[in-house]
């Protein structure tokens, strides 16, 4: 049984600072090649299946660009 999570990125708020990438304990996030209208590379979920919704990325984000969602316990084995 494990909890599943998801991170929504608001592309126009992300400045590609990389703090969320460095702090995510499950290496869910990475900077993408895509840039926003200000020219910042934006963060993306590269291993979305690993996210458990711990919220550490959102706590470290200086720009409130990330919104974290979490499911109840899912039926899948860890």
């Amino acid at each position: 049984m494990r909890i599943k999570g998801r991170v929504d990125v608001e592309p126009e708020l992300c400045k590609g600072c990389g703090l969320c990438v460095a702090f995510c304990p499950r290496k869910v996030l990475a900077l993408a090649d895509e840039v926003n209208s200000k020219g910042y590379r934006i963060v993306a979920q590269v291993k979305p299946e690993e996210c458990n919704g711990c919220t550490i990325c959102a706590q470290m984000c200086p720009d409130i660009a990330l919104t974290v969602w979490r499911s109840g316990r899912s039926k899948e084995a860890v």
């Binding site: 708020l13 919704g53 200086p62």
Partner: protein, 253 residues
């Protein structure tokens, strides 16, 4: 799925203008969360200073005033005395509070003004291009100390929290940082206690928060957090320097 993080109501929808990775944004969020949790968002009056956080008046969803460089504690004093029913806070950098405004800071604390000061110490003048601040570390390179700050030429870094805790009018003084989720939690607890100092009419509450300036430190945002943990904390130790609650316990009041 349910949403487990959200922008605090005490912030407007204006995107922050801070440089990528600058922890001013984290500190804004923590302050806004604390305003919401205390139910003070409608009631609060904030004073923005001069520095990178000058536009704080665009970001906080409460009444805001902007003060001349260093004068935020004096402006806050006036507002709090005229409107004691309002919660009054300032948000100031180390150039603002520790250099041009050190007089206002010391006197507001010494008078025991019932105001709350959020003091963001990033060891440089961020807005104007990374010049030496009173809090620049010994040995630290800045645009005006290109070979590093030296005692002989520039004097010692100014320990604002250690100075203020000596004043009887200061009710709560703490130094924290935001370099990890656990440090962020400690900072939030300190903000809550600094709020309590004002709410309970105990005197001045100040939280000095060690913050990054990646651009002017010439570091990437992750390296800048490491710089705080390894270099800055060594010269500016973290901790609670004064807490009115401890005095209450000791004096039995």
């Amino acid at each position: 799925m349910r949403q487990v993080t959200a922008k605090p109501k005490a912030l407007t929808n204006a995107p922050f203008h801070y440089c990528p990775g600058c922890t001013h944004g984290i500190i804004h969020r923590l302050l806004a969360e604390t305003l919401d949790e205390f139910g003070l968002t409608e009631n609060a009056i904030g004073i923005a200073s001069v520095g990178c956080s000058v536009f704080a008046y665009d970001y906080f969803n409460c009444d805001m005033q902007q003060a001349a460089h260093g004068r935020a504690p004096a402006v806050a004093t006036g507002i709090k005395r005229v409107r004691p029913q309002n919660f009054v806070f300032t948000y100031q950098g180390d150039g603002d509070l520790g250099s041009i405004g050190i007089g206002e800071t010391i006197h507001a604390a010494n008078r025991g003004e019932n105001i709350t000061i959020i003091f963001v110490n990033n060891a440089v003048y961020g807005m104007t291009g990374g010049q030496m601040a009173p809090t620049t570390l010994l040995g630290q390179k800045s645009s005006t100390t290109p070979t590093g700050r030296s005692i002989g030429e520039h004097g010692y870094p100014l320990p604002v929290s250690e100075l203020l805790q000596a004043l009887p009018g200061a009710a709560y003084v703490a130094r924290t940082t935001v370099t990890s989720p656990s440090q962020i939690r400690i900072t939030k607890r300190a903000l809550a206690q600094a709020f309590q100092a004002q709410i309970q009419g105990r005197g001045l509450g100040l939280v000095e928060i060690l913050s990054t300036c990646p651009v002017n430190w010439h570091m990437d945002p992750v390296e800048a957090l490491t710089f705080i943990n390894e270099e800055m904390v060594a010269q500016f130790p973290l901790g609670v320097f004064k807490d009115f609650d401890e005095e209450v316990a000791r004096d039995g009041k």
